[in-house]
């Protein structure tokens, strides 16, 4: 377990609530996280689990209808309730974020080089010319060939994988301590996925940058993550190391995720039945209760907290007594 003193990013009881015409929606219901320098933490969950909203909320990038509570500290600076000025100083400098679809995440009418220059000049007092040169170097660092020519091109002139590299180049421009990667490979082909993950891993190594890898793809987790947090319905239901996640899951939801990976030799696909809950009225107690095969009456009681189990943390009250896992 990481000591909060060494962490570059710390979340404590982090909550996000949206006010909608139908009532308040609790998208994130108490998340804790500690991220140490240079490590990659994977955040896994289905759509709607709150994994992206957590980090968008931390950076203040959610719409007005969102209320953020709890604590989120970046190198000691508190983000929750911070002034716009403080947040703007952190965004793009201490913490950078890359998104799922690089085509829509880049402005189509600005050249790629100009967009990187914008990132640089927002936080560094340099001339346009030197920033432009740095932009070329950055493109080279992420593996884009002929960076000097390509810096004058527009986003639609790049392929999907190249575009994502551009986004990464832009993100690392100011040497951030943390890179938040929100489903960076989901929109890409499988072969390209591996390349992008390699780029991120290498940069992490070279720069000592910590990475939050948000994804729903366990394959990505297996490839790059050191530790994993599994989220469901706005809460973390399991925290563990990456190998332990696959070998010895401690939460039924995690087991469900593992079982739903299609494997050669198995004849039927085994999805988790049902669908994620409507966060307008979350189920009482454990939110996974309606879909869980191990459910007992106590599960509907108090909202379960993470408790240590066999070296991991699990929010399942039955974690100690259950034998979970994908046994062949």
């Amino acid at each position: 377990m990481t000591d909060s003193r060494d962490s570059v990013l710390s979340l404590r009881d982090f909550k996000v609530e949206f006010s909608t015409p139908n009532g308040p929606v609790q998208a994130v219901r108490g998340v804790d996280l500690d991220l140490a320098r240079g490590e990659i933490v994977g955040v896994v969950g289905e759509s709607g689990s709150g994994k992206s909203v957590t980090f968008l909320g931390m950076l203040g990038l959610l719409p007005q209808s969102a209320t953020v509570t709890g604590s989120a500290t970046v190198n000691g600076t508190e983000m929750v309730g911070a002034s716009t000025k403080t947040m703007r100083a952190i965004r793009g400098r201490e913490i950078a974020m890359i998104f799922q679809d690089p085509l829509s995440a880049l402005n189509p009418v600005h050249r790629v080089g100009d967009q990187i220059v914008e990132m640089i000049r927002e936080h560094q007092d340099v001339s346009k010319k030197s920033a432009a040169n740095v932009a070329v170097d950055l493109l080279g660092a992420v593996g884009i060939p002929q960076p000097k020519d390509r810096t004058n091109q527009y986003p639609h002139e790049f392929s999907g994988g190249m575009r994502q590299r551009v986004m990464i180049a832009m993100a690392i421009a100011n040497d951030p301590k943390v890179l938040i990667a929100d489903e960076p490979t989901t929109a890409l082909d499988v072969t390209v996925q591996a390349q992008i993950l390699e780029v991120i891993d290498k940069l992490r190594e070279d720069m000592g940058m910590a990475v939050v890898m948000i994804t729903h793809d366990l394959g990505v987790i297996a490839r790059v993550a050191d530790r994993v947090q599994v989220m469901y319905a706005g809460r973390v239901v399991e925290k563990t190391g990456v190998e332990e996640l696959f070998a010895d899951p401690t939460h039924p939801y995690t087991e469900g995720l593992l079982r739903s990976i299609p494997l050669l030799g198995h004849q039927r696909l085994l999805p988790i039945p049902g669908s994620p809950p409507n966060m307008l009225r979350p189920p009482s107690g454990c939110a996974f209760r309606p879909r869980c095969p191990y459910v007992i009456d106590e599960c509907g009681g108090v909202l379960p907290e993470l408790e240590p189990v066999r070296g991991a943390s699990s929010a399942c009250i039955r974690a100690g007594e259950l034998t979970l896992g994908v046994l062949t």
Partner: protein, 323 residues
């Protein structure tokens, strides 16, 4: 890009010829120039009628139309001295046309600059705070004003400010009989018509710009921009507005192209001697020598600005596949 421009330009000339030919056919069939000549000059002799026919190249039949068109075109491009004269009293067409053109350009130009400028500004004011009372107020007002048919607002304003209150003159460019150039007087006379046109323009562009802004506001690249640490102002300026203006530019170009057609309604109600009044009178008289130059000038203007609209869109949005 260059290839694109050249291709468009090459298409331009044949398009102009084709469309103006269609206009020629429409005018010939719609107004029957000989009949209208006779109606305007009931005591014209057969010789005069025949001469009129010949001077204006009013041949019959399909081949006759083609020949007539090219004859007309040839005399048109040679300049106003070669143009045939109006059926009313044989007056020269160009002086009146030129006078009308200048008046309309003055009126429309002022209204356009004011209208587009204020409209875009208000559109941004509303669009950058959707859901607030300012947005609601601007949007609703623009909606209401835009729903009022132009001639209604013209008539009502004329009734209110000119007739009842007598603050501003109801008609014309200058009071009847005035000579010379008097900017203050001209401004007074133009005030109401400009206002009428301008509020319609403002209403329209406010809604366009607001809609465009709202469209762009949901784009992901704005989130990226904020994630870079940009201030809201910078995001607005460099990303939101910049991208919102792309479709607007096209609209502006086309609007300008149509300007020459005159603001028929406003000019008519305020007795303002512009292209609109010119056209209505010519249309009512069936005055062929006036109709053709007028319509062709409008056509060319529309086509030129259409072309400019296309080019500007391609220039502003690099995603457009230039083929």
């Amino acid at each position: 890009m260059l290839r694109f421009i050249v291709r468009r330009l090459l298409w331009f000339i044949p398009t102009v010829l084709f469309v103006t030919f269609l206009v020629y056919v429409a005018v010939r069939i719609g107004w029957d120039p000989v009949k209208t000549y006779v109606r305007a000059n009931p005591r014209a002799s057969d010789e005069q009628i025949a001469k009129y026919r010949e001077v204006n190249g009013l041949y019959e039949g399909f081949g006759g139309y083609i020949r007539g068109y090219f004859e007309w075109l040839w005399s048109f491009v040679q300049g106003p001295d070669h143009w045939s004269r109006s059926i009313k009293g044989g007056a020269e067409v160009w002086p009146t046309l030129r006078y009308s053109l200048f008046n309309t350009l003055r009126l429309a130009g002022t209204a356009a600059v004011l209208g587009i400028g204020i409209g875009l500004f208000l559109g941004v004011v509303a669009g950058k705070r959707p859901g607030t009372w300012i947005d609601g107020l601007v949007n609703t007002t623009a909606f209401f004003v835009g729903s009022i048919p132009p001639f209604v607002s013209a008539v009502i304003l004329q009734l209110a400010f000119a007739v009842q209150l007598g603050w501003l003159p109801a008609a014309g460019v200058y009071p009847p009989g005035h000579e010379g150039f008097d900017p203050w007087l001209m401004a007074k006379h133009m005030a109401l018509p400009v206002f009428v046109v301008a509020i319609q323009t403002i209403a329209g562009y406010t809604r366009y710009m607001r809609a465009s802004l709202l469209d762009v506001s949901s784009a992901d690249y704005l989130r990226t921009a904020r994630a870079k640490g940009l201030s809201e102002r910078a995001v607005l300026r460099r990303h939101t507005i910049r991208n919102s203006l792309i479709p607007i530019a096209t609209v502006v170009a086309i609007d300008i192209g149509a300007l020459m057609g005159g603001l028929i309604i406003t000019e008519n109600i305020f007795n303002y001697p512009g292209m609109g009044v010119f056209f209505i009178n010519a249309a009512n008289d069936g005055d062929y020598p006036k109709l053709m130059p007028f319509l062709v000038i409008i056509t060319v203007s529309v086509l030129i600005f259409n072309l400019l609209a296309d080019l500007s869109y391609a220039y502003l949005d690099p995603r457009i596949k230039l083929d």
